[in-house]
Amino acid sequence: MLKRALAIITLLIIGYWLAQGLAGVPFGEDRMLVAQYYLDHVKEQTGAVNTVTAVVVNYRGFDTLGEVTVLFIASTGVGALLWRKKRERTAKTEGSIVLTTGTRLLAPFIMLFGAYIFIHGHLTPGGGFPGGATIATAFLLLYMAFTVYEIPHKTFEKVEGAVGMAYVLVGLIGLAIGGYFLYDWIWQDWGFGVDNVGRLLSGGFIPVIYTIIGLKVGTELSGIIDNMLKEEVSE
C-alpha cells in the first residue's frame, strides 16, 4: 500500500513538472517553422497533396527507412526468439460459423482495401503503414478462423527481404542518378505526373515506396502473428 502511495506521489510530482514544461508550449498556437516551409512547398517539390506522407517519405525519408527497419527488426527478433526446431499451430477450437464465413468473404476485400490505402498514401490519410497493417488484419482473421491455416512464411520472409532491398535500392538509384541518397528521381528528374498533382499518378516515388512499405509491413506483421501463435512440438 505504501508503495502505491509513494508511486502516486512520485508520479504526481513528475506530472506536475511535465505540465509545467508544457505550459511553455501553449496548446493550439502556431509555432511552425520548418513545417510552414513544408506546407508552402509540398506540392511543387514532391507532387503530393498529403503533406504528412510527403514529410514521412520524402523530406524525412531517413526516418521512414529507420521505421521500416525497426519493424523488420521486430519481425526478425520475434522470429529469432520464438524459433524452434519444429513448431505447429496448436489451436483446438475452430472459429464459429459467423467468423469463418465472414472471414472467407471479407479477407480478399480487406487486402484490397489495404492496398488502396497504401497506393493512395500521397493523396489521402494513410499510407504504407496503415495499409500494411490492414493487410495483416486479414491474415489475423484467417488465423483466428481456421485452426490449420498457416501463411507461407518462407515466401513471406523472402518477400520481406526483397521489398526491403527494393526500398534501399530506390534510395541508391537516387544516389546514382541525383547524387543524393533517397533522392526523388521520379519526381524531380523525370517529372513524372507533374500535371497530375492531386491524382493517383503523381507524388514522385511516394506511391512506389508506400507500395514497398505496405507489402513489407503486411508480411512482417503477419509473420509476427504467425510466430506468436505457433508452439513448439516435440518430434
Binding site: L18, D63, G79, L81, G164, Y180, F181
Partner: protein
C-alpha cells in the same frame, strides 16, 4: 568521390540485412561468412570516410533526398563520427569473425540480420544530424539489442532482455517527450538549428526538455542509477554481442548525450544539468567498481568494469570543458579497444571451456596462454598502468576533472579505481599462478584478433601522439558547437 556516397554507411548494412532471408537457404556457414564479408565492406567504406574527413579536415554532410537541412534530414560525419563509424565497423568485423566460432544457436540468419542492424543503428546514431532521426536510430539499436540479448533463448537471456526492454522503453518514452517539448518550442528538429535557436528558448521548456532528453539517453548510456539493466544484458548476451555493446552501442548513447548536451549550451539551466551528470557519472564509476569487486562471473565482472569506464567517459563529457571532451573521446577510443579485447578473450574462454566463471580461469595461463596474455594486457590496460593506452586517457580525464575544479570527483573515481585494480589483479593472479591444465588449441582467427587488439593497446600506449591528435580533433568536433552550426548548410528557413 562524392561525399554523398558516405550514405552507403547506412545503405549497405540495411540492404545486406534485407538480403539475408534470400540466402539463408545456403546454410549456416554461408550466412556467417556473408556476415564477415559485409562487415569487411563496411569497414572499407568507413575507412574511406575516415580518410576523407581527416585529410580534408571538413565534415561530410550527407543530405538525404537532396533536401538541405533543416528541411531534410542530414548526416553529419565530422571528425568524431568518422572516427567512431570506423571503430564500429572494425569492432563489428572482428566480432563477425568471432561469431563464426562463438555462435551455434539457431537461427543464424536472424542473428546475422540483427547483428548488421545493431551496427547500422550505432552508425546512424553517431552520424545523424537530426534529433528525431537520432531517436529512430536509437530505437533500431535498442530493439535489435533487446532481441540479441535474448538470442540464446535461455531463461537468463530472456530475463535480461525484459529488464532491458522495460527500462529502455521508459527511457525512450521520456526522450520522446523531451523531443516533443523542444520541437514544440522551436519548430525544428535539426540539431544545428536547435543549437542556433537554443538561446532564445523558453527557460522552463528548455530545462524540462533537456532534462528529459538527458534522462532518456542516460538509460542507454548506462549512467547510475539507470544502468541496472546493463550487467544482466552484458552477461546474458552472446559473447560477440557483449563486446559490441561495450565497444560501441553504449558509446553511441553516450555520444548522443554529449552531442545534445553541448548543442544546448546556450540553455540557462545547462550548468546544473552538467553538475547532475557529474554526480551521476561519478556514482556510476563508484558503484560499478564496487559491484565488480567480488564478482564470480568474469564476464559480469568485466561488464561492471565497462560500466565504470563509461561512467568515467560520462564524467569527462560532463565537465563542460574542451580538455574534458577531448579526454573523454580519447578514453572512448581506448575503452572500445580494451573492452573489445577483454570481451573477445573472455568470450573465447567461455566458448572453449563452457562458461565464464572464475574457476574456469584457473590455470588459463597454461591452458590458453595467448588468450590469458590478451586478458592480462587488457586488464592491465584497464587498470591504467603506464605504457598501456588507457593510462593516457585516464590521466587526461583526471587532469581535466581537476582542472575544472572537481577534485572530489577525481578522488572518488580514483578510490573506485583502486577497487578496479584489485579485482583485475585477482583475475590475473588466478589465470597465471593458480591451477594447472593441459594446453588447448586456441584457434587461429581469434588468436590473430587478440594479438591485433593487444598490439593496438600497446602501440597506443607507447606512442599515443597520433591517437591523441585524432581524439583532439574529434573532441573539438563535439565541443565546438559554433563550427558545427557553421558546417551544416542550413537554408534560411524561419531564420
Amino acid at each position: 568521390m562524392n561525399g554523398q556516397y558516405a550514405s552507403l554507411l547506412i545503405a549497405l548494412p540495411l540492404i545486406s540485412a534485407f538480403f539475408v532471408p534470400l540466402i539463408k537457404g545456403l546454410g549456416k556457414k554461408a550466412v556467417k561468412y556473408y556476415l564477415v564479408l559485409i562487415t569487411a565492406l563496411q569497414t572499407g567504406i568507413a575507412a574511406w570516410v575516415f580518410q576523407e574527413v581527416y585529410t580534408t579536415g571538413k565534415p561530410i554532410i550527407v543530405m538525404a533526398g537532396a533536401w538541405r537541412p533543416p528541411v531534410g534530414i542530414n548526416l553529419y560525419i565530422g571528425h568524431f563520427a568518422a572516427l567512431f563509424v570506423l571503430i564500429v565497423a572494425v569492432v563489428s568485423f572482428l566480432m563477425a569473425v568471432f561469431s563464426i566460432r562463438a555462435i551455434s544457436v539457431d537461427p543464424i540468419d536472424k542473428y546475422a540480420m540483427l547483428f548488421l542492424l545493431v551496427m547500422l543503428g550505432a552508425t546512424g546514431m553517431i552520424a545523424t544530424g537530426d534529433i528525431f532521426n537520432l531517436f529512430v536510430f536509437m530505437e533500431i539499436t535498442a530493439i535489435s539489442a533487446y532481441a540479441l540479448t535474448a538470442y540464446n533463448k535461455t531463461g537468463e537471456a530472456a530475463e535480461a532482455s525484459i529488464k532491458y526492454i522495460i527500462l529502455g522503453g521508459i527511457g525512450s518514452s521520456f526522450f520522446l517527450i523531451g523531443i516533443a517539448l523542444i520541437y514544440g518550442s522551436l519548430g525544428t528538429l535539426n540539431m544545428a538549428q536547435i543549437a542556433q535557436l537554443a538561446g532564445g528558448m523558453d527557460a522552463t521548456v528548455a530545462q524540462v526538455g533537456l532534462a528529459l532528453i538527458v534522462f532518456g539517453l542516460a538509460v542507454e548510456a548506462e549512467l547510475f542509477p539507470l544502468n541496472a539493466w546493463a550487467p544482466d544484458a552484458y552477461q546474458a548476451a552472446p559473447h560477440p554481442i557483449t563486446a559490441m555493446f561495450s565497444a560501441f552501442v553504449v558509446k553511441a548513447g553516450l555520444y548522443a548525450l554529449a552531442r545534445i548536451l553541448y548543442l544546448m549550451q546556450a540553455v540557462s539551466s545547462w550548468h546544473s544539468v552538467l553538475k547532475l551528470l557529474i554526480i551521476m557519472a561519478t556514482l556510476t564509476v563508484f558503484v560499478a567498481e564496487f559491484a565488480a569487486l567480488r564478482q564470480k562471473n568474469v564476464k559480469r565482472m568485466i561488464a561492471y568494469s565497462s560500466i565504470a569506464q563509461i561512467g568515467l567517459i560520462g564524467l569527462a563529457f560532463a565537465l563542460g570543458t574542451q580538455s574534458g571532451v577531448d579526454a573523454g573521446v580519447f578514453h572512448m577510443v581506448n575503452h572500445a579497444i580494451v573492452k573489445a579485447l577483454l570481451f573477445l578473450a573472455v568470450g573465447h574462454v567461455a566458448v572453449s571451456l563452457g562458461g565464464a566463471e572464475m574457476e574456469k580461469f584457473e590455470g588459463l595461463g597454461k591452458r590458453m596462454p595467448l588468450t590469458a596474455f590478451a586478458i592480462t594486457v587488457g586488464a592491465i590496460a584497464a587498470v591504467g598502468i603506464p605504457l598501456f593506452n588507457v593510462f593516457w586517457s585516464k590521466l587526461r580525464i583526471l587532469l581535466a576533472t581537476l582542472g575544472a575544479g572537481y577534485s572530489w570527483a577525481a578522488a572518488v573515481v580514483l578510490i573506485a579505481s583502486v577497487v578496479e585494480a584489485v579485482y583485475y589483479f585477482r583475475l590475473i593472479h588466478t589465470m597465471w599462478f593458480a591451477g594447472e591444465g593441459e594446453r588447448i588449441s586456441e584457434g587461429l582467427a581469434v588468436s590473430l584478433m587478440l594479438l591485433f587488439l593487444a598490439a593496438l593497446v600497446i602501440v597506443i600506449g607507447v606512442y599515443p601522439d597520433y591517437a591523441w591528435s585524432i581524439a583532439q580533433k574529434a573532441g573539438n568536433d563535439i565541443f565546438n558547437v559554433a563550427d558545427y552550426i557553421k558546417n551544416v548548410p542550413l537554408m534560411g528557413v524561419g531564420a
